[in-house]
Symmetry: C2
């Protein structure tokens, strides 16, 4: 009989009860629209990092540059699986690669990647 969960109107009336001048607060909240590009870029990076296999690859590349077949051993996974992970890491800007003969060598793109990994580790430590 009442309004359903899905109506954002519920949120509006809630704010109207919460503030003396709700209009201003609502306008402020609605203005929090980080540029689509920014959010999408961050999302790409974090999605690429949010996978156990890919975190293991980065952990290996932290030690030294590796070619594809070496990472196959690190992950103990078939070639196509490893190649797919590497593509995602590259698209996110987390690793770079160079070709030498028939081999592709992968390395971490930037020290910022180390920082990301360390920060995530630190955050999860005290949860």
């Amino acid at each position: 009989m009442s309004k359903t969960d899905s109506s954002p109107d519920e949120a509006y009336s809630a704010l109207e009860r919460l503030y003396d001048d709700p209009e201003e607060r609502i306008a402020t909240l609605q203005d929090i629209r980080p540029s689509e590009q920014d959010v999408t870029g961050q999302e790409t990076v974090f999605k690429a990092l949010g996978n156990e296999d890919r975190l293991r690859v980065l952990s290996a590349l932290r030690e030294s540059e590796c070619c594809g077949c070496e990472l196959q051993i690190v992950l103990d996974a078939p070639q196509s699986t490893v190649a797919t992970h590497l593509r995602k890491l590259k698209e996110a800007g987390l690793v770079k690669s160079r070709k030498k003969g028939k081999w592709s060598y992968y390395r971490i793109a930037d020290t910022a990647v180390f920082e990301l990994l360390d920060l995530a580790h630190a955050i999860q430590e005290d949860v």
Copy 2:
């Protein structure tokens, strides 16, 4: 008639052709086993960050503490959706909450979260 893609043996023989002493390299690669806990913790954090809505929530919390109904307006999404996102962010240790009356107020848990967001932004900038 030949070995298939899925056999990791392929990778082993590749390394045997690549190195004079492949055994040592293989042993080194296999030893790259970051502790299960470490990887899982990082994975949780990055998975939580790898979602557009949740990035927008963090962007809002960067400005000020918000209660649930305010974040409903930021995301323009139904209440249950917002609550689910907030739970994930909490479980990952990215936000904390306090209750005041019937309201739950959310805030960013640690400045490390700002650093994560900024680093991801910087990385994706030059891809």
